[in-house]
């Protein structure tokens, strides 16, 4: 049985990040991926003349230029791939198309904090002071996070918190709770909250701290995507593993994480292979690990309780369109469209449980960001929404394709109605993914794409403050990825893998 220093179960963003950092750090790594290609959601597919990214809309935390280093940038610099990827800058933050009690909203928001605040003031006069306060809170958050790790004892922590009153005040509150305390026009609030769809939680439940972390990073640093789609990052990370004495095994499913005397010992696979290691980083969900991969008798009670306390986040539904007209010809001038029939996020979130009422979408047009996103004279639209119920669990197989097509058609209708742009007659290629599709390719429970729901008592701050680095009582077992200690999305998933790897390199990982 071959022995490794670390085995990574699953090659999604978290697993790849962990594997690459560990391999670069001198560990002998084995990454096992059930699919034919690592990446998980970070991949792409081709249809005819087009190549579609499965999931990446914009990468948060990479930063612009050498002086603005986001968390993802630090990771990629650590493993030496920042300069190996062809990056494209996203031209603007988003276009929000919605309506509120004051009428239709059609707001194109720029990157750059000052630009953003100025634009906000144009759309919602009287919002400047509140917007400046919000972004100052964002800067305060970053300072607190940077210094919290240096606190030697609880008194240092209290001193730090007392010196950062806005952070302390807002950290336990939801987005809507904080905004309700500010003298801020409702229109401005609605524009500011546009990113809630990225987190699949309404702003009554979404932690203000977490939401602001994400928004502040996006607006301050801007965002990027790889020209060759997210697979370019995936392949670069996989290459780091392979070229640093690591092995990557694809088309192989881990069937057991072997545990003895409360510690991991290795893994077994469906192909009958066995590998040993004292450290396992699991990129699969804790639900998958504790229901399928680890024998019942070895699972600590605390791990079971932790799993059973969680609530799954939203299941994804995507429509990819290859259009036979250019973005310019069609009038697709913007990169990211947030379309909510009504800006009331709490109301919209409730309606996202059923295909008859779910009309929320985030749609991107890569051609608005860069030439060459698709062949000349063509363009791409990638439409995404989420279902926050398990409605799709009950679709009979004989109805599945019809229901899937009907909902995809409704998403196209919603886009056309909101933007006034006719796209239906120009569809040259179409691909549709429902929760079943995501379940099939990732094995995620319910086909969820956003890990566990960031509900009030399970937001990022709550997780960070209450979890150990491993999220498990089993020695040597770590979790990385969208179900990890942080939240969901590319940067969070990679970040958990980065954190796990650094901890393992520092401590040996067997604690």
């Amino acid at each position: 049985m071959k022995k490794y220093d670390v085995i990574v179960v699953g090659g999604g963003n978290g697993g790849l990040a962990a594997g690459a950092v560990l391999a670069k750090g001198g560990k002998n790594v084995l990454l096992i991926e059930k699919s034919h290609s690592p990446g998980g959601f970070a991949t792409s597919f081709r249809r005819g003349r087009f190549e579609f990214d499965v999931s990446l809309h914009e990468l948060n935390g990479f930063g612009r230029g050498k002086e603005a280093l986001g968390g993802v940038r630090v990771l990629f610099d650590t493993i030496g791939i920042s300069d190996k990827i062809n990056w494209v800058d996203i031209p603007e933050a988003y276009r929000l198309i919605s309506s509120d009690e004051n009428g239709k909203i059609d707001a194109v928001m720029p990157f750059g904090i000052e630009n953003y605040i100025n634009k906000m003031e144009e759309y919602a006069p009287g919002s400047r002071k509140a917007a400046e306060y919000i972004f100052s809170c964002g800067q305060q958050n970053l300072r607190v996070l940077a210094q919290m790790g240096k606190c030697k004892n609880v008194f240092d922590q209290i001193k730090l918190l007392a010196a950062n009153r806005d952070f302390l005040h807002n950290s336990s509150k939801s987005v809507n709770e904080v905004l309700s305390l500010l003298d801020m026009p409702q229109r401005a609030r609605n524009i500011f909250k546009a990113y809630w769809a990225y987190l699949c939680a309404d702003c009554d439940n979404l932690s203000f701290f977490h939401y602001l972390q994400m928004v502040n990073t996006y607006i301050e640093l801007g965002s990027v995507i790889p020209f060759m789609r997210s697979l370019e990052m995936t392949n670069a990370m996989a290459e780091v593993i392979s070229s640093n004495n690591g092995d990557i095994l694809v088309n192989e499913t881990v069937t057991e994480i072997v545990v003895e005397n409360g510690a991991v010992k290795g893994v077994k696979t469906a192909g009958g292979k066995e590998f040993s290691a004292d450290v396992v980083v699991c990129n699969a969900s804790p639900h998958s690990a504790f229901s399928k991969l680890i024998k019942k008798e070895h699972i600590p009670e605390g791990d079971l309780k932790r799993c059973n306390f969680r609530t799954f986040s939203g299941s994804g539904f995507c429509v990819w369109l290859g259009l036979n007209k250019s973005a310019k010809e069609l009038g697709l001038d913007n990169y990211s469209y947030f379309i909510f029939p009504d800006a009331d996020d709490v109301k919209q979130f409730k309606l996202m449980g059923h295909p008859d009422t779910n009309r929320v979408q985030n749609t991107i047009c890569p051609n608005a960001a860069f030439e060459g996103a698709s062949p000349e004279g063509t363009s791409i639209l990638s439409m995404t929404t989420l279902f926050n119920s398990f409605w799709w669990d009950n679709v009979p197989e004989e109805d599945y394709f019809r229901v899937k097509n009907e909902f995809a058609s409704s998403m196209i209708d919603t886009f056309e109605k909101a933007t006034g742009i006719k796209i239906r007659e120009h569809i040259e290629e179409i691909e549709i993914a429902s929760p079943e599709t995501f379940a099939r390719f990732t094995l995620n429970p319910h086909g969820t794409i956003y890990g566990y729901l960031g509900k009030k008592n399970d937001g990022v701050l709550a997780r960070t403050l209450s979890e150990n680095k491993r999220m498990s009582g089993i020695k040597g077992l770590y979790f990385a990825g969208g179900y990890g200690t942080k939240m969901n999305g590319y940067s969070s998933a990679m970040s958990t893998g980065f954190d796990a790897a650094r901890h393992i390199l520092r401590t040996g990982g067997k604690d």
Binding site: E232, E239, Y400, R424, D458
Partner: protein, 348 residues
């Protein structure tokens, strides 16, 4: 902007401390029962797209141009659903098939598939043409992109196929929803320019200019290339032309185009003979090397492997090569549609 006081400091500190406590209390109050493992959508995924299905030959109906095999499930009560235009890939198995062979499903029911195996030079296809009742095959779930999609395709459907694609045209003809608006042109004879009673190719060539719908083309590479070009010359736009090529090419051996492929797989390293007339995957499978074939058309990417050295040719229309950009950057190929031009080294 928010006024803070000494009193609010205490309140906020309490709330902050409560963040961690509230979560830990909620975890503690949660049950320690077994974690939920069964989810409707995941079970649906397993039912609709299993990695492998076991099929038994129930009936064989031979004709001049090949055989219709009626296949039933070897293990499951029902089979995954299939759309007209889709195929299954029959895997190398104990019945003697040496390499994967994609065959179109001419008729699909919940408990059986009827597939058409054309008579060709391919020795592995011959084994299937001569299959017997009771033979067992392992196959993939239905796959392929040559199916009708109402959100993309015109209501009027035209299908043009040769012997290789005949099963797909039968599927369109047999489909209750589509059959009223399908017109099929079949060319079952040998050479593509033969005009005889088994070919409607000349009819298609005459009527091509009048096509006012979506054209589906199924068959061998030469045939699809000819029909596609004809359709484009007749003014049919790209959006209205769908095609699928799954012919694996001629049998080996061809001593003139014989090469050595060095295979690296984990810690193993070994040599395999490969031939210029066969896709690389067929040569590898013939030598007993598993390649994870899922389509034989080059489009799914499941068989992707890294080409470290050597030359290959890939027969795809320019701009429609199915290898993803980042994969091409890192040297990955799809061996099911890659034909060796020299000695090769690959990493599986």
């Amino acid at each position: 902007m928010i006024k803070h006081t000494a009193l609010s400091l205490l309140r906020d500190l309490k709330a902050f401390i409560g963040i961690k406590k509230e979560r830990l209390d909620a975890i503690d109050a949660a049950p320690d029962t077994a974690v939920e493992s069964s989810f409707g959508v995941n079970m649906l995924a397993d039912a609709m797209h299993p990695d492998r299905i076991s099929l038994e030959v129930k009936e064989v109906k031979k004709d001049r141009f090949g055989s219709f095999l009626v296949l039933i499930s070897g293990e499951r009560r029902t089979l995954p659903s299939a759309k007209p235009g889709q195929f299954i890939v029959i895997k190398p198995s104990v019945t003697g098939i040496k390499y994967s062979r994609a065959v179109y499903i001419a008729f699909a029911e919940r408990t059986s598939y009827t597939v058409f195996i054309p008579q060709t030079d391919d020795s592995e296809a011959e084994k299937l043409v001569n299959a017997r009742k009771g033979d067992i095959f392992e196959a993939t779930s239905p796959a392929g992109l040559g199916f009708y999609q109402p959100l993309r395709d015109s209501g009027n459907i035209f299908v043009c196929c040769d012997k290789e694609g005949f099963g797909a045209s039968e599927a369109f003809r047999n489909d209750k929803e589509l059959q009223e608006r399908v017109k099929v042109y079949t060319h079952l004879a040998g050479a593509v320019d033969t005009e005889n009673g088994n070919s409607q190719l000349s009819v298609f060539l005459r009527e091509c200019k009048l096509i006012d719908g979506t054209l589906f083309i199924f068959g061998s590479e030469d045939f699809v290339t000819l029909i596609k070009k004809t359709a484009e010359d007749c003014g049919l736009i790209k959006k209205r032309i769908r095609y699928d090529i799954i012919s694996p090419g001629k049998i080996f051996p061809d001593e003139e185009k014989k090469y050595v492929c060095r295979v690296k797989r984990g810690s193993e390293e070994f040599d395999v003979l490969c031939y210029g007339h066969m896709p690389l995957s067929a040569s590898l499978e013939y030598a007993g090397v598993e390649c994870n074939i899922n389509c034989m058309s080059g489009t799914c990417g499941y068989c992707r492997m890294k080409l470290v050295s050597g030359d290959i040719s890939v027969h795809f229309p320019e701009g429609e090569e199915p290898v993803r950009m980042a994969d091409a950057k890192h040297g990955f190929i799809h061996p099911c549609r890659s034909y060796p031009l020299s000695d090769l080294t690959v990493i599986i």
